[in-house]
Symmetry: none
Subunit: 208 residues, 4 copies
Amino acid sequence: MPRPVVDKKNLILKAAIKVFARRGFSRARTAVIAREARVAEGTIYNYFKSKDDLILTIFEQTWRDMIRALRAVLQPIHDPIQKMTLVLTTVIDLFESDPQLAEVFLVELRQSGKCFSSQPMAVILEFLDLLEEILKEGIVQGVIRKDINTRIARGFLFGAVESILLGWLLRRTHPELFGKEKPYTLEEAKETLTKLFGTGFFVKPPNR
Amino acid sequence: MPRPVVDKKNLILKAAIKVFARRGFSRARTAVIAREARVAEGTIYNYFKSKDDLILTIFEQTWRDMIRALRAVLQPIHDPIQKMTLVLTTVIDLFESDPQLAEVFLVELRQSGKCFSSQPMAVILEFLDLLEEILKEGIVQGVIRKDINTRIARGFLFGAVESILLGWLLRRTHPELFGKEKPYTLEEAKETLTKLFGTGFFVKPPNR
Amino acid sequence: MPRPVVDKKNLILKAAIKVFARRGFSRARTAVIAREARVAEGTIYNYFKSKDDLILTIFEQTWRDMIRALRAVLQPIHDPIQKMTLVLTTVIDLFESDPQLAEVFLVELRQSGKCFSSQPMAVILEFLDLLEEILKEGIVQGVIRKDINTRIARGFLFGAVESILLGWLLRRTHPELFGKEKPYTLEEAKETLTKLFGTGFFVKPPNR
Amino acid sequence: MPRPVVDKKNLILKAAIKVFARRGFSRARTAVIAREARVAEGTIYNYFKSKDDLILTIFEQTWRDMIRALRAVLQPIHDPIQKMTLVLTTVIDLFESDPQLAEVFLVELRQSGKCFSSQPMAVILEFLDLLEEILKEGIVQGVIRKDINTRIARGFLFGAVESILLGWLLRRTHPELFGKEKPYTLEEAKETLTKLFGTGFFVKPPNR
DNA sequence: AATGAATGAGTATTCATTCAT
DNA sequence: TATGAATGAATACTCATTCAT
């Protein structure tokens, strides 16, 4: 009855995040991931189907965990505005706290050629659904304007968050691209997002 | 007077767009691009440094042309709101008119591993600068609220456009991902964008 | 009295024959053999040194059993012609009764890279010796011509049997290779073998 | 207009025969074949689909050449007995003159897992057809007995030749397998073959 | 400029075998 | 004996790029 003393699957996942962030997806070698995880190369394939499966699992698992956690936290809140703010800032905070994970999600994942296949899209859609639910609640409660297509609007919110994170990340990793531009903090970005989200989506702007 | 009877560089570029859209960047073979362009494999390398250079050139050239055209059209217009609307809808219209180009920009480019390197970022930044200029004009003219970081806000606009286009494209290419969702038109998306942009950014929302 | 309830070694051997016949030697997976035998993968290695050892053991054991059985049956017979006929038809009958075994011997064994090594050759040589003994008896008794090299002649007989069986097997497994050829039965083949073995191809043999 | 100064395809084929004979098919490395042929590894794949294709081509081409040459030589001969003798001895002589080729055909080919697929079988069948034609001519002319199934008989002849060659080859490459056995020459083997082919094993053949 | 045969660096994955339990 | 998770050696093949013509 051989007992896994340690959770090898997790070990490999952690190692993969590190290596993907360091070298990029396509330049990351499975041999290096194995060494970093202190397992044999073949062991990776006891837990994952392929290198693609590895990055897709990282993606999916992180989002699923986040969505589950969000739903729990959202439960007792009733104000849709507060809910939306919580969701958006939570996502940003997660990636701020783990820039390697952010790198993998925003940059490296796209190299895998699978990033728009059904597996990862399913979880993204789940997140988009969460956003849309909140928008709809807001409409019902009369705090969100009702003359918008929520399916489209949820995409804007997602796009805005991506844009914030990607801008922040690239300024960290490739500052030379931005010349002497004064950088901004994620705190500022969240504020701006909240303002624009708020006054963009709120009912009763001047004369509507 | 040895004028090239045909513009081979352009021939290659067109062929590349077709093949990238059909097979994806990494699965696209330079040999196939050459065949499609009816040139020898080596000829590609008389005009382009590498396969990466090929997709990056497509990217850059398209954006530069678009930015140049936009600046020309924008010249006589003074209303920043009108300007911004024109910019955003023009971008959307371009990709709507050439879905293969959209595929290459939104999906395939990301596989190249160079998509966040200085060459393509420079032109994106140029576009972002254009957006920011308009925002600043709007602030000066008092029609855009001034309590926002324009550097951050321009990113939202860009992210929103990307999100619209990617959603539209994926619904075309992978409808199965979206189940029975009722699709939306780009026309609807532009309307929603204008509404949210407008009432989000305008001065004099309720009590500010 | 810890008697194994079942003979695992034999279980594994039977499973291996099945899998080798189904997938071919090199495409046969030890994991599949283990599953088929309802033992753990490692258990195979309690009984066999390697995958090669497995197929070689099948080969060797089958021949050894056959040779032992043949010697017993041959004992009371004195006519060399009768003996030879018995030997050849017995071999053919064995494989006819177990086509999977035939597949393994005639086709799969050859993939192992060990099929001409000393272990399996030893048993083949033992069979060839048996054939040669009979030929020599025939010569002594004056019923087999004495102007032939028995070492060479025994090879012919073995080759003829192989050719019969291989032809029969391939017509079963790959009928498409033979087009519309009318197949033949092993019964016919045995008859032809007996005729040609006895008196050759020529009409009116010259004067020996 | 790049001109191949040397026939690379042939160079590769020759190198492959050498390496297959030296190391065996499965232990032969494509890198070594390339080095031996003084071409790049990739060049092999400009001429051959795979490593399997390489050995299959060697097999097929040699047999096709032999069959073509045989048909030419056979043309003016009318005596079926003479024809058959010529065919069998020609095959034996070819392999005697090129033991590496013999090694590849009799031993290494079998490791490829493709040796009974349609491509190589087709050419073997062509050779078997040649043998059968001769047998049938002999029957028509009344020199070959007509009470045999020629389809089966041709297999015996092929099997006999294989057995001669394999015995001869193994005695060269693995003499230890045969203990102190006095070896025989291919000359002796051909004689024995001719005798047994003609008149069989029996002394004083009965009355047919 | 054009050609296309030649190049060769580069690696994910398999699976027979082991060994701690 | 039995287990099965862990191991890691081993390698054919691709394809972007070059360069002699």
